[in-house]
């Protein structure tokens, strides 16, 4: 019986032990993440690199630092922030694509400079630059072509943001139909992929798109 008790006892202790080590690991992980800090470039440098004024940069940085005191945004925080704007749906997939579009050097985090560069293009760039950015967003694997699968992923992500309670009810193949429409409009040589030139050309021909590109000019 003593042996049995030891057996049971050791089981109990070993389980306890493993949970203890797990806790230690996660605590250390958290401490590691917390010590990564980032300080942005000087204000003058950023002003020269982007198309914002000093005051605008100040306002942007204050907002940025408020949400992310460590100076960088990782994907989790990004998704959290973005999902606050779309309470009804699930915006994590689209936020993931956005994150990849902003994270130009692909190091898994968005610093203030990346943020400003992206915003500078979106808000103060030429139509060409904006369309370029949008193409970059859609081209998930960054190979220079938008395939139907990539577009379907993007479309599903956008429709996910609507959530369930929509009118009319979202069907399974609504995104697919939308992708078909998109490709009909954009894919000029009907080869199943959209290149950057086809994209820019088709967008420039569409009046709606051109007008909507100017919509967010005065956002800051």
């Amino acid at each position: 019986m003593y042996v049995c008790f030891l057996f049971f006892g050791s089981d109990y202790i070993s389980i306890e032990g493993s949970t203890i080590t797990l806790e230690q690991d996660s605590v250390e992980d958290e401490m590691e993440i917390a010590t990564v800090r980032h300080r942005p470039e000087a204000l003058e440098l950023l002003e020269a690199q982007s198309k914002f004024t000093k005051k605008e940069l100040q306002i942007l940085y204050r907002g940025f630092k408020n949400e992310c005191p460590s100076g960088i945004v990782n994907e989790e925080t990004f998704k959290e922030i973005y999902s606050q704007f779309f309470p009804q749906g699930d915006s994590t997939t689209y936020a993931h694509f956005l994150f990849n579009a902003f994270d130009t050097d692909h190091n898994g985090s968005v610093s203030f400079e990346d943020f400003i560069m992206g915003l500078s293009i979106l808000l103060r760039g030429t139509v060409q630059e904006k369309l370029n950015w949008a193409f970059n967003l859609y081209d998930i694997n960054k190979d220079g072509y938008i395939t139907k699968e990539e577009m379907l992923d993007i479309m599903k992500a956008i429709y996910d943001m609507m959530g369930k309670c929509t009118y009319p009810v979202l069907k399974e193949d609504t995104p697919r139909q939308h992708v078909e429409t998109f490709f009909q409009k954009m894919d000029k040589n009907k080869d199943g992929v959209v290149t950057i030139d086809e994209f820019i050309e088709s967008c420039q021909k569409d009046e709606n798109i051109m007008r909507s590109m100017q919509l967010f000019e005065n956002v800051i």
């Binding site: 019986m1 704007f85 009118y167």
Partner: protein, 633 residues
């Protein structure tokens, strides 16, 4: 939407450019900032301590004192600052709320003072962050209980009680003996009789005196009549008490199921059964057994003793630990009994005749009792016997403190877990409310905005003011963003209830299995949205009908009517915003529920309002007959 992320709204709007090439409809106009003020620092002087912050920080929460124009009442012209004659310590927390979006509750602060400050600044306590919410609720509950206790004792001292009827008075007297002298008397009398009954049961088995014939008689048989009288008296009292409790109980069924009443019944049953069965010799043996149950009267003491009740509750809550102890003991006993049996099998005249017989030895040895009626004689038996007694010490002694500490830990944990469960529900509810709040704010403003527009067109401008609520710039920008998303995907946000209503109604209809003709007549449903809009504007100037009728008329004028949409949704869709969602067949998951279709050629049945709509268009395809909603009753 949390104000903290309001700073990221420009980013979210910029990112919306990613939707533009995908959208097929033009986007709504962006709200303009009417008076773009430069951000300025404002000074808040709270009892001499000066706080400074940006104006936009305070304006994040426009429905509080500091965020609205209410603070102008506190503006001091001479010093150009806002002066508040309040506690500066608590103000620190409140200002931090504006800055970070999280309200914290400092531990050193008095709960009622804090509540007063929150009420003054117009902040709801429910916004307190999760880190401090538990503490806040605990303190608040303690405080409330303390106030309630004070009130109660005041009431008792005053002696002013609402008039209760006889039943309620009796029940109160039974439950709380201290309420009146009569109750106290009753309490002590029943207690006395329980004691008498128990002592009687004990004494009647004591042998007292002998009878000629060299036989010792227990007192019970010697003074049979006396004992019988005592027993009868006790049972009388118990019966009367039970019946009175039964009469006074507010819920008789629940009372009869409670443990105490079962104990009462079991305590007095043997007597009555004995009365009935005295003449029958066969069952007198069973009758004797029944008398054992009289000892249950001792449990009636638990009404008189709080400690017994707590002990009972403790055992009940610790049942699993006790069960485990029992189980491990049983395992140990079986193992050692088996070993001892086989070890002692060889020796002659061994008392270990079978394994169950060895159980007794094992139990006696492990609990270190050692009666000595069974002892091992072989060497192997002695070795194993000693191992048994050593392990007995460990097995019995160790789990007891473990159980005790387990019990105390579990007890406190349970309390905390219950608290957390209750608060988790509240927390989830708060999150849900916040979410639905922001989405319903959007829907609400959409309705208001569209109604506004509709009224403008129909020329009635006097109602405009009271419909358009003033939304802050950030809110209107957020709504614009959601509107763009709607335009991109060609679907609208609606309420959950409307959505479910939609599903239910669509499940009651049946559509032809073939594709709808709409898709063939238009190049994709989505492009028709823009063309439809232009067509429908012609209806507007002539109509001062409510939007519902417009809706249904336009429904009929479209080609495919197989699924009539909900007219009740019209409050959220004015004629301006008409899209051809008709083109996209609603396809709820419950669509496989098909009820009988009654095809009636007259369309008025389609519109529940019963209006006589214009004649149905003749280009209703033959495949989609007019479908009437069959109400599932």
């Amino acid at each position: 939407m949390a104000a903290g992320v309001a700073a990221w709204l420009p980013f979210a709007r910029a990112a919306a450019i990613g939707w533009m090439p995908v959208a097929n409809c033009p986007m709504p106009l962006a709200p303009t900032e009417k008076n773009k003020r430069q951000d300025e620092l404002i000074i808040l002087n709270v009892s001499g301590r000066r706080f400074q912050t940006w104006r936009t920080t305070l304006e994040r929460y426009p429905d509080t004192l500091l965020g609205s124009t209410e603070k102008e009442f506190f503006f001091n012209e001479d010093t150009k600052e806002y002066f508040f004659d309040r506690d500066p310590e608590v103000f620190r927390c409140i200002l931090n709320f504006y800055r970070t979006g999280k309200l914290h509750y400092p531990r050193y602060e008095c709960i009622s003072a804090y509540d007063e400050e929150l009420a003054f600044y117009g902040i709801l306590p429910e916004i307190i962050g999760d880190c401090c919410y538990e503490e806040y609720k605990d303190r608040k509950r303690e405080n409330a209980e303390r106030l309630m206790d004070d009130n109660d004792s005041e009431n008792n001292q005053e002696g002013s009680m609402p008039s209760l009827n006889l039943r309620q008075t009796m029940w109160r007297a039974f439950e709380n003996p201290h309420t009146s002298t009569l109750a106290l008397v009753f309490y002590y009398v029943t207690g006395f009789f329980i004691a008498v009954s128990v002592i009687t049961n004990v004494v009647e088995t004591v042998p007292c005196g002998t009878v000629p014939g060299n036989k010792e008689l227990p007192c019970g048989e010697r003074y049979a009549v006396a004992f019988f009288c005592l027993d009868t008296a006790c049972v009388m009292i118990f019966t009367v008490e039970y019946l009175m409790r039964l009469f006074a109980a507010p819920s008789r069924y629940r009372f009869m199921r409670s443990v105490m009443s079962i104990i009462d019944v079991v305590a007095i049953m043997p007597y009555y059964i004995g009365l009935v069965m005295t003449n029958n010799e066969d069952v007198s043996g069973a009758f004797v057994t029944l008398r054992v149950f009289r000892v249950f009267r001792i449990f009636k003491f638990s009404r008189h003793s709080q400690g017994l009740r707590i002990l009972g509750y403790t055992l009940k809550s610790c049942a699993s630990e006790l069960g485990f102890l029992l189980f491990s003991l049983t395992m140990a006993i079986i193992i050692f009994a088996t070993v001892m049996f086989y070890a002692e099998k060889g020796s002659s005249a061994s008392k270990f005749t079978s394994i169950p017989a060895s159980f007794w030895y094992t139990i006696v040895t492990m609990t270190t009792l050692g009666y000595g009626d069974m002892v091992p004689k072989t060497i192997a038996g002695k070795i194993f016997g000693s191992i048994c007694s050593l392990s007995g010490v460990l097995v019995i002694a160790l789990p007891v403190p473990v159980i005790v500490s387990n019990f105390s830990r579990i007890y406190h944990q349970n309390q905390r877990a219950d608290k957390r469960r209750a608060q988790k529900k509240a927390r989830l509810a708060r999150i849900r409310v916040a979410k639905t709040g922001s989405s319903s704010a959007y829907l609400h403003s959409k309705r208001n905005g569209l109604l506004n527009a509709a009224l403008e067109l129909t020329g009635s401008s006097d109602d405009e003011q009271h419909i358009s609520k003033s939304t802050s710039l950030i809110e209107s920008q957020h709504h614009h963003l959601l509107h763009c998303l709607e335009k991109t995907t060609n679907h609208e946000f609606i309420d959950e209830q409307l959505f479910e209503q939609n599903c239910m109604d669509n499940s009651m209809q049946n559509y032809p299995s073939t594709r709808s003709p709409s898709l063939s007549s238009n190049n994709g449903g989505s492009t028709s949205c823009c063309s439809r809009r232009n067509k429908k504007t012609t209806h507007l100037p002539n109509s001062n009908v409510p939007a519902t009728r417009l809706r249904s008329m336009q429904e009929l004028s479209t080609i495919h009517i197989q699924c009539s949409e909900q007219p009740s949704l019209t409050t959220s869709r004015s004629s301006l915003n008409m899209k051809s969602e008709d083109g996209l067949r609603p396809n709820c998951k419950t669509s496989h529920l098909t009820t009988a279709i009654i095809t009636i050629p007259t369309p008025p049945a389609l519109t529940p309002e019963g209006e006589s709509s214009p004649h149905p268009t003749t280009n209703i395809s033959t495949t989609c007959s007019n479908i009437v909603k069959v109400s599932a009753l």
